[in-house]
Structure formats: C-alpha cells, structure tokens
Assembly symmetry: C2
Homo-oligomer: 302 residues x 2
Amino acid sequence: MTLPKTVTLIEVGPRDGLQNEKNIIPTDIKIKFIEALKQANINEMELTSFVSPKWVPQMKDADEIIKACLEPGKRHFVLAPNQKGVERFYAAGCDHIAVFVGVSTTFNKKNINKTTEESMAELAPLIRDLKARGKFVRACISTAFYCPYEGKVEKEAAVDLCGRFAELGVDELSVADTIGMANPKDVYALFSRLKESLPENILLTGHFHNTRGTALANIYACLEAGVDRFDTSAGGLGGCPFAPGASGNVATEDVLFMLNEMEIETGIDMEKLLEAVDLIRPHITRSLDSKIYGLRMAGNHT
Amino acid sequence: MTLPKTVTLIEVGPRDGLQNEKNIIPTDIKIKFIEALKQANINEMELTSFVSPKWVPQMKDADEIIKACLEPGKRHFVLAPNQKGVERFYAAGCDHIAVFVGVSTTFNKKNINKTTEESMAELAPLIRDLKARGKFVRACISTAFYCPYEGKVEKEAAVDLCGRFAELGVDELSVADTIGMANPKDVYALFSRLKESLPENILLTGHFHNTRGTALANIYACLEAGVDRFDTSAGGLGGCPFAPGASGNVATEDVLFMLNEMEIETGIDMEKLLEAVDLIRPHITRSLDSKIYGLRMAGNHT
C-alpha cells in the first residue's frame, strides 16, 4: 500500500465555507481571512462566487474580493453557476473557474432549479468557450455518493457524469460526498474507478463533509486509491442546508494533522492556518466543527 | 482489499466511559443503561471495575452492578488493576477480566504508580492463576502509539509487550491509541504486524479515541489489516484526563453507522443503542462527542 508523498489541499472556506453563513461578513474581514490563508502557504483556493446576490447575499462582494485577493498564476477559483456568472468571470479577468452539477437530478433541481441534463446542456458550450480562451476549469460533482432526496447514488452514474466533463476538456474534477454519508469502502471503489477511467491529465479531487464523522476515513481511502487532492475548509466552515444538525466541510487543520502524522507533505503551516481561523471565527454564528482548533481553544497545543 | 464481513463491538461505556465522569451516577441508572445496551444486542461489554473507591469513586458500586447485570456465558468484563482487584473478581464469581498496562512506562507510572516492568511483574502470576482457573483474560495495552509524556511510541515496543501477554496465555489483546494521536498508516502497520506475530487464537481488538477526529480512519485501517473487534463507547462517553479539551472513546453509534454503510454485520440495533444513550445523557456533565447522536438530537434521523 503506497500513499501519495505529497498532497494538495484546496481551501474552500472563503467560498463554500461562508456561503451559507447567515451573518454577512464584512469584506475586509474576508480579505484578511484569505490573506491569512495565503500566509499559511495555501496556494489553491476557492475565493468567492459569481452567484445572484439575491440568492446568496454573502457573495455580493465577489468583485471586491477578486480585486483584493486574486493572484495571477495561482489557482484561485471563482465559482460561476451559469452564463451570467461566466460573463462576470470574464469581465473580472479571472483564470480559474469552478462550475458544479449534481449527479442526482432531484438534488440539482432543488439546488439550482435545473435537472442534471439541463445543467449539462447549459454548461457544455460555456466550458468549450472557457477552454478556447485558455481558462482552467474545475468541475464540482455533487451528490456523487448520496442524495438527500434520492438516497444512494449508483457509482456508474457518477463515473458517467465525470466522463462527460472529461470529454468537455475540464482540468479538474472535484467529486463530493455532499451530505457526508459516504463510507470509505465506497469512496475507495469510486475513486479507484475514476483513476482508471479518466485521462491522466485531469486532476482528481476528493470533497468530503464530516457530517457523520467519516471524512478522515474517506480521505484515507482516497489516498489509498492514489488521490492526492482534497477540498478542505479552515475551521470546518460550511454547513449543509440539506441536513439539520449537520457539520460542514471537513476542517483543513484536521486533514492537515492526519497528513502531517503520516508524513505526507502539503507545505501548509499549521500554526498560521489556525491563526486564519482565529480571524474568521468571531464572525461565524454556528459552532466550528474542528477537532484540532477545538483542542487549541482548550489550551492543548499538541 | 477484503474487509471482515462481521465485526464485534465491545461496549466500554459503562466502565471506561463513566470512570472519569465527575457526577456520581446512581447505580440504578447505570443498571438501566447496561440493560438498554443489552437490548441493542451488544453482547460484549466492560461492566465495571474493581478499583479503589478512593481513586475512582464512580466505580464503588462494582459489586451491585455485577450482581444486577453479569450474565454467565456472555463476555461481560470486569477490570481489575492489581491483586486486590483480582481477589474481588474471584469473590464476585466473574469469568471475564480486563487487566491493563501501558507500553510507555512514564504513562504507566503516572497512571498507576508503577513502571511497565513493575506492572508486568505483578500481573504475570495473576494472569497465570486466572488462566489456571479457566478465566477469560483481556489485556488492555494503552499508549500503543503515543504517550502524552514520552511522545511517539516505537511500534516494536508495542509488539513486544503484546507478545509477552501472549506468552502468559491471555485470550484477548485490546491495543489502544489512548490519547487519540494515531494515524491510519501507523495503525495499519502495527495491527498488521500484530496479526502476523500473535497466535491466531488470541483475539485482537482496536481501541481508538476520537480526540483529533481520526478514530474512524484508524478503524478503517484496522479493518484492512483484518481486525474485526473494536472497543467503542455509547454516546462517545469517556474523557481523557491527559488531554485538555479531548473527547473520549469513539462513539459506538458512529462506528456502527460506518460499518452498516459498508455492509459489515455487527448485530447491533442502532435505534435501541441511541435509546441507551438517551438514558445516560442527562447524567453526564460533559457534552457528548457523537455525530450520529448529535444529528438525531437535531431531528435528523438519516
């Protein structure tokens, strides 16, 4: 069993982590948070998203965030759900986009009022155009294991959808256990299958929620399947509107702890990462789901 | 990669889980808790311990618990740390004993004021006598990965100590990540090594704390190493006096969720297990570290 020697953590706190936070966080705090994450040596990040400010008021300062934080040459992703978002993405001079679609059509419909096929029909020409303009396209595949409405998702349905994105020429596939129901056996099976079936030049990323405590087990199973990229969220920011009581994305610092202990390199500075969490924590209304940060708060600096 | 098809969870909540609880819980509540765990079809359990009531007042009702709950023919363990405890064990007519020792001698010294060698010198004749009388002996090996005082523990030190217990004829070795610092790579390495080196008739059990969120990852790594027994604690009961802010033993229901999802049989009834947690929760002063129970409290019954 050989695990990857280095792993990249893609920080999704500023976008995925904050988008469901009810308290509108001042833009300067968000910028300080992002800068602190950069100081921790986090080089890939979802910065913000071009979504309707009516639907996601937290992201209404997307242009300001980009102006202050986007560094050319770094993979600083901005999410855009549709044509309008992509137009704003071009206008802002961004280079790395994140698009998303759910394997489960019911989930996709409830989330953005389109079936999975309708989303694909809209995204396909957008992705071709983005690629023609030399942009980096990250496709986020949600409900790859479980749907809160349809239940267990067939592995081959996730594989097929990823394959269609591969044909469109995307650069990265981020495959998500959106409601935190996946188990390491299924995770190993799906990611091994994707490693086999996808072209080697496509980056494959695991995205896990710790809703039922299985996120680190699922990440370990991914590592065994050769996956070396994971979406994580500083402080475990991010809730899940589809599961009452659910915690959010797996905490960057908890993943970092496990990787450090396994001597897998990430380049990330734990202490500076925790300082970034210190900056954002007072503005978050829910309690953070982070073991390492919680221990630090209790005075344990192991 | 073949995982075990069935797994046994040894419930340690009534003993390991409660021993550090400051609030002295009424004996009848403990008995109801144990009965509820039995109703959930949990067949192996640490019931109580014969320790000094001066040191662990929570366990002063050991004889009453045994009288009310011990079922002959079931693996109902009672812990005894020394000769005096073993005498009480015989007098109470018990058949399944748990003894313990730390790989780290500093930990053992701080815990029971004996070096590891002094503990072994005391335990060896006791174990020989227990085996001569046909008793089942479970040896709990603490700090098998990390010591809060000495740091990382050498794998071979844990293997050697387990080997010495094997030579004494113990029936089970429960190998513990006492402070919740282990990572799945080291867990796989140690348990694979133990599977190779120990006689096949010795039951090998993993005991994990979720202090840093890695317990389920470590259990998954154990499953890959062929381990099919785990100590778990209903509601995640049990703190760790050596780590401020630390959570306790991994919650039985969280492990059960993961095993259920992987279609690994345990025979345990989730709903009845959660009802057992309902019984004990009002008497516990710390907040429970259990994802599944927490979701249920929030109204999510997935």
